[in-house]
Symmetry: D2
Subunit: 202 residues, 4 copies
Amino acid sequence: MSPSQPLWPYVTPGIRDDLFERLPGIPMSPREVRVLILAQLCLMPTSVLWDVGAGTGTIAVEAALRCPQGRVVAVERDGEVAGLIGRNGARFGASNIAVVEGNAPECLAEIQPLPDRICVESGRPIQAVLEQCWAYLQPGGRLVATTASLDGLYSVGGTLASLRALRVEVVQVAVNRLENRGQQQVFRAIDPIFVFSAEKVA
Amino acid sequence: MSPSQPLWPYVTPGIRDDLFERLPGIPMSPREVRVLILAQLCLMPTSVLWDVGAGTGTIAVEAALRCPQGRVVAVERDGEVAGLIGRNGARFGASNIAVVEGNAPECLAEIQPLPDRICVESGRPIQAVLEQCWAYLQPGGRLVATTASLDGLYSVGGTLASLRALRVEVVQVAVNRLENRGQQQVFRAIDPIFVFSAEKVA
Amino acid sequence: MSPSQPLWPYVTPGIRDDLFERLPGIPMSPREVRVLILAQLCLMPTSVLWDVGAGTGTIAVEAALRCPQGRVVAVERDGEVAGLIGRNGARFGASNIAVVEGNAPECLAEIQPLPDRICVESGRPIQAVLEQCWAYLQPGGRLVATTASLDGLYSVGGTLASLRALRVEVVQVAVNRLENRGQQQVFRAIDPIFVFSAEKVA
Amino acid sequence: MSPSQPLWPYVTPGIRDDLFERLPGIPMSPREVRVLILAQLCLMPTSVLWDVGAGTGTIAVEAALRCPQGRVVAVERDGEVAGLIGRNGARFGASNIAVVEGNAPECLAEIQPLPDRICVESGRPIQAVLEQCWAYLQPGGRLVATTASLDGLYSVGGTLASLRALRVEVVQVAVNRLENRGQQQVFRAIDPIFVFSAEKVA
């Protein structure tokens, strides 16, 4: 790779999973799920995105590449994981990612600027995280939250309803990938995930 | 909507389905499938995309918006549908779409410039369409083909293998959307689709 | 079909959908979902099954055929639909189905004998229906409830938890069928459904 | 478990996965897939089923329990796996399973009686296995074949077409199970499988 050629030179999101640095046990939104999360975020060129529970940092990186005039704040409680996000940002030349090591929702109070986009990938208690995120979200902004659990489905759905969020949508993504297995190619399922999206009244 | 505000001002693909003009019976890639097709296309800022069997034109429009310096050629045999693509392009302010009304693969010989990206959404005989498309595809270029049928799965897979395409991937997308139905919200399945992608040797 | 040959002479459940009489708008569990519901019911030869919100009656018919020494009570509020269930029972020679036309949960108080198996396919308010069904369910019995809605997922899950049900399982079934469409065979998705199952302490 | 109480006393198929003895690396059809395979087999009380590539033996066991007057022949090339099938049969009290250790299609010539039902769960070359199975299948009999691979999808579909099989159906089963993971319950996908079924002219 020449210095002038970035790792993901494309204008479409959907970075291949194997291009990211990973740590064992740290969750990562697979490409097929990630592109849907990004679609639901509806990023503007100048968006300020908070990525809460950023994990491997794949959403943060993709959003940063799409919004060179914008800013991404990745919030992650674990120090080692926070370092991973930073390295993944550097790997893709995304200079507009700030990594905040801290516990949501407490640490959110310190973060500036306020977001017009929020992605909540995890966090407990999820209700408190969502409520605080919603409070910081700018009018007209959008929030996307993902969950793979039944409890999460209950909590996120219930919390968004109580917040009087607009345009609430829920999509469940189930993707099968053809993978090599010995001499055969077999379809393997990616675990399904529910993607909630909602808009705050302007 | 003010004159200065485009219909899809966002930097992320994934235009809402209801923003497109539609014609009865004309297929449209739903948003969740479309974002994966676009991810697999890996568009460059200056890409030339041929969209063969463009239908409603949603891929053409999304690609054109991502590649303002690039060009999109939408190929469609039906005149009425070709008109629909043109109107959808205008609706989103995508001035870099050219619509070619004609039968693939015959009509492809006339099209300039040659593509570095091709999306084959339909076409019969699919094998001949793919082979011709592949011949026109620039070295190092990418081709994405979708199919919902068993015959298509056989034909596309077999043809790509015979063309010695690189990095062939197959992903099956199955998405459930929560939709309103009376007073309830129920999960409705979007019909599954297989997305093939492949790269031509540079 | 000779008089001596029943319509479904097989010992395995999974009657083809097109063998049932149907009424427009009346829901029917498709074969692929039905066999999973029956698996979760774990019917005994002498089981008494209450099928609440029986719709087209497919579960009632399949259960009756598996349990010739048992009894099936199909509960359905709509008179026309109740008639449909009766006709489907007769069609398959299932003489051990009784159809109760009435509103659950009120009408359940009249039904004898008490069930060791209950299938709740619909009903509102679902929480009250489930609680009453659970009260009538014999110790050691099993209850299966299906839902396609987000509200149903919340209500059924929450109610079973509050009832201290044992061995609660949730399975989401998503099936794609290859169907003829013009000259092609395309995969069509059956809308996904969540199947809850639970056991009452013995 | 008392001596008089069998391990699966139910009249419905769908034995819980954890009731089977397993060996590492030996494939097993999960319950949700198994009930659909059994539904497609349409077993008669006196059916003779050949289960080719029987793996853990779950289909053989379920079929044997449904058809006490019938016979199941489980064909398996690996001696250790053949032993596993025998133990699973004994475990469930299925005395009408015979295990044939041998390579299909060669070993099929020795097997008596001829089948009216065949389940092909694996085998290579799949085309030769299917063709030989079809030759042995009694007129009016049914064959079910499963595959998780793209090659298998091509081969099984193509072979059944060339055999002029009747009523060919293809169903893809995708199931998500709610599983415990730490303190949460998350949906996990079972890898999807394609189930072909076909009937031989009577």
